[in-house]
Structures are given as C-alpha cells and as structure tokens.
C-alpha cells in the first residue's frame, strides 16, 4: 500500500515538474497506469462488479482499505486456489455470495491488477444516466404514488361496474336491452382494424430504420439471408393482411341483426378446400426450397480457399479469441490444462499452440476474407451472436462447433452507413459490431459481450503483431528462431 501511494505521488509530482503546470487529482487520469487500469477494468470487471454498488460481486470502491494488495492479486488470478489454501477471507466471501465462484483471471499480470486497483480507487463515480426522463411521471417510482395509481384503477373499475349493473337493471325493467351490445361489439371490430392498421404502420415507420436491415448485412451470406427475409415478409405480409382483414370485417358484416335471421347453411366445399390447401402448399414448398438452398450454402461448405481459422472461447462471463499466430494453425486444446495464463487450456505438447495468441473481449476480423470461427465453452453453453453479421452459433462444453462466414463491410464503413441512416445520432460515430452471448449462461449473461472489429488486412496484421502468445511470454528466455519452427510445422502438416 505504501509502495502504491508513493507511486501515485511520484506520478503526480513528475507531471507537475515536467509540465510545470498546476495540478489536481484529475490529472491522474493521464497516468499510464491509471489509463491501462481503466481499460482492463472495463474489459474484465464490469460484467460482475460496479464501483459503488453490489452487482453479482461486491462494490469495489475502497477495496484497498478492506484487503491487502497481495491478497487481491492472488484472489483475482485464481480464487479457487486461494480458497484451497483455507484462506479465511476468501472462504468467507465465497460463502457470502452463495457459493458462486468468481472467474479466474489468469490473463492478468500482477502489474495489470495493480493498475486496475489504481483505477478503482481513483475513478470518479458516474451518476447513472437518466434513461427516458420524460416518462418519469407516468409510472410513479415510489410506493405511495404506485398505490394511488392502483386505487385509481379500482375506483374506475367500481364506477364501471356500477354503471353496468344499473344498465342491466334498467334493461330488465324495460324488458329490452337499452344498449345493443351485439352491435357495439360488432362495431368494435372494424374500429380495431383501422386502429390496428395505423398501429402496425406507425411501428414500421418508427422502428424499421433501427432494425439491422436498415444498413444491410456486414457479411456475404447475410445479404442472401436479408433477401430471403424480405421475400418471406412479402408473402406472409400479404397473408397477414388478408386474414386479419377478414377476421375483423366478417364479424361486423355477419353480426346477428335481430330475431328471425338465420345464417347461411354451408358446411363444406371440397373445391375451395382443395385450393386453399394446395396454394399454401405450393408457396410453402417454394419458400422451403429457397430456404434449404440458402441453409446448405451457409452450413454445408468446405473450408473456403484463403480462409483462416480462429477460436472463440467462452466462459462465464467473457469471450476470448485465440488466433493461430504466424504458423496459421491452432494448437490442440485440453480442458485439464486450463489455468494461469493458459486460461483457455491450450495443450503445449502440441507445438502448434506455442505461437497461439489470446485476446480477451475483442475480436478482429479481416474484411473480405472468409473466416472459420471455431467455438468452445469452458463451463456452460454460450452462444456467439453477431446480429449485424447475421452470425450465430452455440459454444457447447465438450462439443466443438464452428461457423464459416465472410465479413464484407469494415467497422468504419458500417459507421458511415449508420450515420447516413441516422445523421442526428452521434452515437453511431463510435458504433461497433458486437458479439453478444445469446444463450442464458448465468446471472451476468446480460453483460457478456465482445467488440468485433472488421478491418483491412494491413490493419489486422499490425494489430495482431502487437499481441504476444502466452507460451512465448512465459518461456521468453528460450529464444527459438520463429521462422524455422514455422517452416517445419507447415511442412509436416
């Protein structure tokens, strides 16, 4: 702790000295440790923690007052191991949180964790954004006004009920209905049809541009899917309108109009039935053939030429991507080997894994180059869903799955398209493709996401070079010329 404060003070002093300007606490935000801590905190911790309140795990502000730094480091890296040493603090917190373990962050170094702690203790607490403040008054947020709302409802209902019973009594006295309810209900149908049509139209008008179709798909197969979606929408839309109009117009047209009227006795007509069985069948079969062709095109393909493989690894509650490294080959894996910096369980007996690179929370893809996305999960079923790429595949423990697709629109290009669609919304200037977990995987399922960056080959290579493989980092002193191993491997494989 002392070391820690000295470091902070030193950082501050150096800023003051070097820049020769007055300083306050905010300047800490320029400290590289703080900045790196912020980035790491946001990438790794916010799924389950907040600074000032309990989420799945405890609030983190003031953590240095509660725990020793060495303990924090041990806990973050592998809390199960810490608990195995019968550490009373560790066991107490494990039990307090209903025996749900914290994820082990073997990917974080001691320095990383120290930086995160710097960030936690110095970060400003941001007040939650007021979401939809304009409707604040509509539903009362606190109990008393909620009860007023409920009482009002009961009161209105009581009035209604009273008027209904008066109406019934008067009708009884007069010997006939004073309100022709059959007619009222019959009239309600066309009214609802008109209101409903407007409602459907308004929804389309307001929200169509926010569906993922508005800017098109970011992948090659997505374009085909979108086309098929619109064909299906046109056909079902026609049937929808036809059936709803009939279902709401017939009741009005053929309402009971008083005693003595009789319905048209019409129990059957084989010809009509033949046609309305055959026509839907033909339409459905055409859609089916169209769908099957598309489905086979997407799923039944061999690894395309020029494709590269990556592995997306899921655990509660983050995503990690494994890149094959210079050799272009992903090494074998074995879940028994999970631990420490090798938290995806690479099997180092397979030399192909030695140059494999891991990256948590960010997936980079090359535009216009097919990619084979292999999926693995450590604990429960997760699902990798990238809506704007029309990509979805489950990650199942014990069963490797994969999906092949070709991104065609870079992140930058997609931002441009989105801004063109929504010029007033500045959010789209920083928009990103997102990979989200779409199979319920635990309490923090709703926070499990990963940014997807689609970029040119050149950008991708620069980015990939900035990362180091965990094996090589761990075995840094043993310098093996990378070129010779690569050649051997590719030759033998």
């Amino acid at each position: 702790m002392l070391h820690f404060n000295v470091k902070k003070v030193f950082a501050l002093l150096s800023i003051i000295l070097v820049l020769g300007i007055g300083s306050n606490a905010a300047d800490l935000t320029k400290d590289p440790g703080y900045l790196s801590g912020e980035k790491l905190y946001k990438a790794n911790c916010t799924t389950c923690h907040a600074l000032d309140k309990k989420v799945l795990g405890p609030a983190l502000k003031g953590i240095t007052a509660r725990r020793k730094e060495a303990w924090i480091i041990k806990w973050v890296k592998d809390n199960a191991a810490l608990r195995a040493t019968n550490d009373p603090e560790a066991i107490a917190i494990f039990n307090e949180y209903k025996g749900i373990p914290m994820t082990a962050f073997g990917n974080l170094t001691d320095a990383d964790i120290k930086n995160i702690v710097v960030y936690i203790e110095n970060a400003p607490i941001v007040a939650p954004k007021p979401v939809a403040a304009d409707v604040e008054t509509d539903i009362p947020p606190n109990s008393p006004s909620m009860w007023i709302f409920v009482l009002l409802g009961i009161f209105i209902f009581a009035l209604l009920n009273l008027s209904i019973s008066i109406e019934n009594k008067v009708s009884k006295l007069l010997g006939k209905e004073i309100i022709n309810w059959n007619k009222v209900n019959a009239l309600m149908f066309p009214i609802m049809l008109v209101a409903g049509s407007y409602y459907v139209y308004a929804q389309f008008a307001k929200y169509s541009s926010y569906t993922y179709f508005a800017v098109g798909s970011g992948s090659a197969h997505g374009k085909v899917l979108d086309e098929m979606f619109f064909v299906t929408l046109a056909i079902t839309g026609f049937v929808f309108i036809l059936c709803q109009v009939l279902a709401f117009v017939f009741p009005y047209l053929y309402r009971h109009r008083g005693e003595g009227t009789k319905a048209f006795y019409y129990p059957d007509n084989n010809q009509i039935e033949f046609w309305w069985t055959i026509i839907p069948s033909i339409v459905l079969v055409s859609l089916l053939v169209y769908g099957l062709k598309t489905w086979n095109g997407i799923t039944m393909q061999e690894k395309p030429k020029g494709a590269y493989e990556i592995e997306v690894f899921a655990r509660q509650f983050d995503w990690t991507v494994r890149y094959p490294g210079p050799d272009g080959l992903l090494g074998k894996h074995d879940y028994h080997k999970i631990g420490g910096t090798n938290f995806v369980g690479m099997d180092y007996n397979d030399v192909n894994s030695h140059d494999d690179i891991l990256n948590v929370g960010e997936l980079h893809l090359v535009v216009d180059q097919p990619v084979v996305m292999n999926l693995r999960a450590q604990d429960v079923i997760h699902s990798a869903f990238i809506p704007n790429l029309r990509v979805q595949m489950n990650a199942v423990p014990g069963i490797p799955t994969s999906q092949i697709f070709t991104p065609t629109v870079t992140t930058k290009e997609m931002r441009k398209r989105l801004l063109a669609e929504h010029p007033t919304d500045s959010f789209y200037a920083n928009w990103d493709y997102m990979l989200l977990c779409n199979k319920i995987c635990g309490a923090q399922h709703y926070m499990m996401k990963m940014v997807v960056v689609i970029e040119t080959k050149a950008d991708y290579n620069i980015w990939l070079k900035s990362l180091k493989s965990p094996y090589e980092t761990a075995n840094a002193p043993v310098v093996v010329p990378p070129d010779t191993t690569t050649v051997n491997k590719t030759a033998t494989n």
Binding site: L56, K98, G99, P101, I139, P141, N142, M146, W181, N182, V184, M192, Y207, V224, L225, T232, T236, C243, Q244, L246, A247, F250, Y254, R255, K262, A263, F264, Y265, Y266, P267, D268, Q271, W276, T277, L284, L287, L288, G291, L292, W295, N296, T299, Q316, Y335, G345, Q378, D379, I381, F385, N394, G398, I399, F427, N438, K439, I440, A443, Q444, Y446, K449
Partner: protein, 606 residues
Amino acid sequence: MSNVASENMHHDDHVHHKQSFISKYVFSMDHKMISKQFLVTGLIMGLIGMTMSVLFRLQLAWPEKSFPIFDTLFGKWSTDGHISPDFYMALVTMHGTIMVFFVLTAGLSGTFSNLLIPYQIGCRDMASPFLNMLSYWFFFLSSCILMSSLFVQTGPASGGWTVYPPLSALPKAMPGSGAGMTLWLVAMIFFIGSSLLAGINYVVTILNMRTHGLTMTRLPLTIWAFFFTAVLGILSFPVLLSGSLLLVFDRSFGTSFYLSEIFIDGQALANAGGSPILWQHLFWFLGHPEVYIIILPALGITSEVVATNSRKPIFGYKAMIGSIMGIAGLSFFVWGHHMFVTGMNPLAGSLFMFITFLVAIPSAVKTFNYLATMWRGNIKFTPAMLFGIGLVSLFVTGGLTGIFLGNAALDIPLHDSYFVVAHFHIVMGSSAIFGLLCGIYHWFPRMYGRMMNPQLGYLHFWMSLIGVYMVFFPMHFMGLGGVPRRYYAFTAWDQFAIWNDMNIFITYGAIIGASAQLIFLYNFIYSIFWGTKSVQNPWQSNTLEWTAPQEQIHGNWPGEVPQVYRWPYDYSRPDAEADFVPQNVPDDVVPVGWVHAPKGKKDDKI
C-alpha cells in the same frame, strides 16, 4: 364402440350418495369437481405467473429506477428497489414453467378435458375416476413443490424454462441451479405423472365410452382436439421424464449424461463423454409436441364456440379433423427446429426445417376454415365468441412469424432474439390463453349454473386484445434489431438504447393486459356466488353437455344417457325451424345429413 357397459354400470348407481365434504370437494372422483379443481388451481398459478411477468417487465422498462415493491415482495433478492440479476432470471424461468406446464397444460387441458369428455360423449364419468382424482392431486402436489422452490435459500430454478444443462446441472454455475433446480425437477416428475394418468384416462374414455350413435365422425371438434392432445402427452411426456431423471443423476449421483469437459471454479470436472445437446433433444422431443398439447385444446374449444355463435356448421369438419391429426402427427418430427444453431448436423437441420414447413399447411387450413365459418353467419358476440375471434387473429399473427423461424437459414439471425419471444407468446401463449378464457366464458354456466357478467367480459376481451398486441407486436422489431432475450437489462448496451422507449411501451401494454385479467378474476369469483342463474342451454348449442340438467348430479344424466343421431354442427339448417338441432334430436324430427352438400353428396351421413 358405444358404451352399453358404462350405461348399465352407472344406471342406478351413484345418484343418491350422501357425500362428505372431503369426498365431495377435496378427494372428489367426479369429473365435474375435478375439472373445477384443475381450473381454480390453474387460475391461481396463472395469476402468479402473470404477476411475475409484470414485475420483470417493470425491471426491463425502468432498469435504473427503484421499485420499493420489489423489496417488499422479494426480500433479500432485491436491494434498494432493484431485483438482482439472478432473481430476474428466476422470475423469467418460473413464469415460463408456470405458464407452459401449470396453466396451459394442466389448467387448460385438465379443466376442459375433464369437464367436456364425459359430458360431450354422453357417459357418466371418466373410465377411471380414481386415476382422474390421482391426476389432479399429483398436479396439486407438483404445484406446491414448484412454489416451495421460491423459498429456498439459493432461490428457484433460474436457467430458463428449458433448463439446459450444464447450467442447470452445476450448482456453481448459478445460484438457482442449487436446491431450486432439484425442486423444479421433482415438481416436473410429479407433473408428468399427473399428465400421463390424465392422458391415458382421456384416451380410454373417448375410445370406449361414447354413447349410442356417437361415432367418431360425430364427435365435437373439442373431443377430437382433447383426444389428440392426450395422445401427444402420452407419447412425449415420458421422454421428458427420462430426461429429467438423467439430469437428476447428473446433478446428484455424478453421472455424465449431459456433462463433458467442464472446467468450473478452478477445477476440471471428471465428467466425460456426455452431451449437453442430448438434453435439448430429449427436452424438445416433449417440448415441441407440448406446444401443440397447449394449442390443440384451445383450437378445439374455439371451433366449438365459433360454430355455435356464428350459428353455422363449422366449415370443413373433416378437414378440421384431418388438420388436427396432421398437426399432431407432424409435431413429433420437428423438435430440432429449436436447435438449428447448436451445431447440430446441418442435414438434420434441413430435415427438421422441411417437416416444420409442412405443419404450416394444416394450420393454414384451420385458419381458413374458421374464417369460412364466420362468413355469412349470424354472429352473436358472447364474450366466448370474442375470445374465439381473438384467437384466430393471434393464431394468424403468430403462425406467420413461424415461417421465418422455421426456416433454418433465417433462424440464424433470429434465434433467441425478441422475435422468437414475440412469435411464441402470440401463437401458443396468448392464443392458448384466449382459448382458455373462451372456454371458461362458454362453459361457466355448465360448471357453476350461473352466467358471468357479459359486459365485464367484453371489457376484458378488448383490453386483453389491446394488451397482447401492445406487448408482443413491437417485440418483432426489437428482435430484428438484434436484441437478445433473457437479458436482465440493456443499460450496458448503447446500441440497444433506442429500444428503451419501446420497452416502456411494452410494459404499459403488460399492465393493461394484466389489469384486464384482474377484471376477469373479479367477474369469475363474483359470478360463482352471485351471478344470474343460467338456463339449461344458454348458448343454444347442439352438444350433449347442454342436455344434462342444470343441477349437477353424479352420473350427469338422471335416467338414460341421451342417444346421438347427428353431428354436433347442425346450426341454421334450412329444413329445421329452430336455428339449432341438438345432437340428440332423432332422425325423424329433423333428417340427418347435410342438406346441400355440393356436387351431389347430399346423403353424406354425419
């Protein structure tokens, strides 16, 4: 296969038994009482399930706002008026389980199969009244066990109503996968027991105990629907039973049916060779027929109600039976369409997609037949009829989105999004609820001898219809915006911020819909005790239940059971004076058969 035996057996039996309170109201073996027991239990469960949905809708609409009511209701599961994420998942899971199994399977099928099978086929009671009683009490026990899981320390099951392992198998993966999950499985095992006992009873009764003259092709469509529902249940529930037992083994005895290569809490588990996907196959092998177990009785009830209140024969009676058979048969081979993105062999995906599309054909035929039944009718808008028409509208809306989701390729971007939520809530959730309500309004006079207040019924219907479309229609757009289901909040997702006001709108819809159901509950309870007394056949219907005396007696009919001469849809026959001809009206009063079937099929006997 008529039922001379049952008639003789029951002839002078049972009618004058003096019954104690316990044997009359609690451990009753009378189908009418058991049906009321199912209905009341189902409605209580429905109320709980609906309340849960409103509460989690509040969370979804205003994730940042504090609702002290959560603290009051949920105690330690809520802090400062915010539900915890794991309890949100628990609410969603319990809502799904309660609605699918306890309300729409037991509540719907249990109530109306019990009430209508003996009445409409003209027999004194179920084939085995004892099994029938047992079926209810298994269901009751199951409900109690499920509800008790709300009070265990780690909370109720919270892995979604489909409880996919390994999440549901590993107590360390989620608090709700602890004791709550065990209780869920035990509750399901009793529930399945209940469902099987009931189903066997329904099938045996329908096949063996029909009255004189009631051939299979003279059965009301309700009975056809109940028959196939029961068959589906008998064939598919055992699969879930075995699946559940295997999950119990995995959870408690260290087997590896569903578990393989799992690393959790710093440990590599020894389980090897299992497959989480196996559970999905077993679950959906029940799960898909299950949605037809839910919707078929609702469609059966609607057929009856729409025909009666349109004062017209149901259009295409034989096509309707054929459609029910088609749907029931195909429903066994489509379960894989829930699993297109699990990494299942794409060829299997193609086959499931093919059969899924076939189901759309009988469904379309049914819809057109309902519309044709209303065409040139003489429609009387009883509350039941309104709900029947509402069901048709919902069935169309929800059914059509099935064509998107049944397409394996389109399912890739739509799977597990709000589009799916919209689809199934409309097509098998709301429309089956509409079927249930339709049935309650229609047969309330038969059950309780009184009428429900019709004006409150109209209000209930229009509010429900508005509520349902307010809640579920916008969800299609959310799904097409890539919004995933089962998310506790979207506060961390800037790209979904645009849907915030839609979430608020939906919650208002949910409140409107739920208030409507409270009006219904008031009407229901009030009418049981103080409703106006009904006449014997208030809707001027043709089926046999309305020939039984107002006062409910054990054995249903004093003296002989009525004999049947005709099909149940002789409404507005040109050659009859009244606009309805009950099934027990003999041939010489009004001739049997269609009067003007097209193309010279005049003498087609029904």
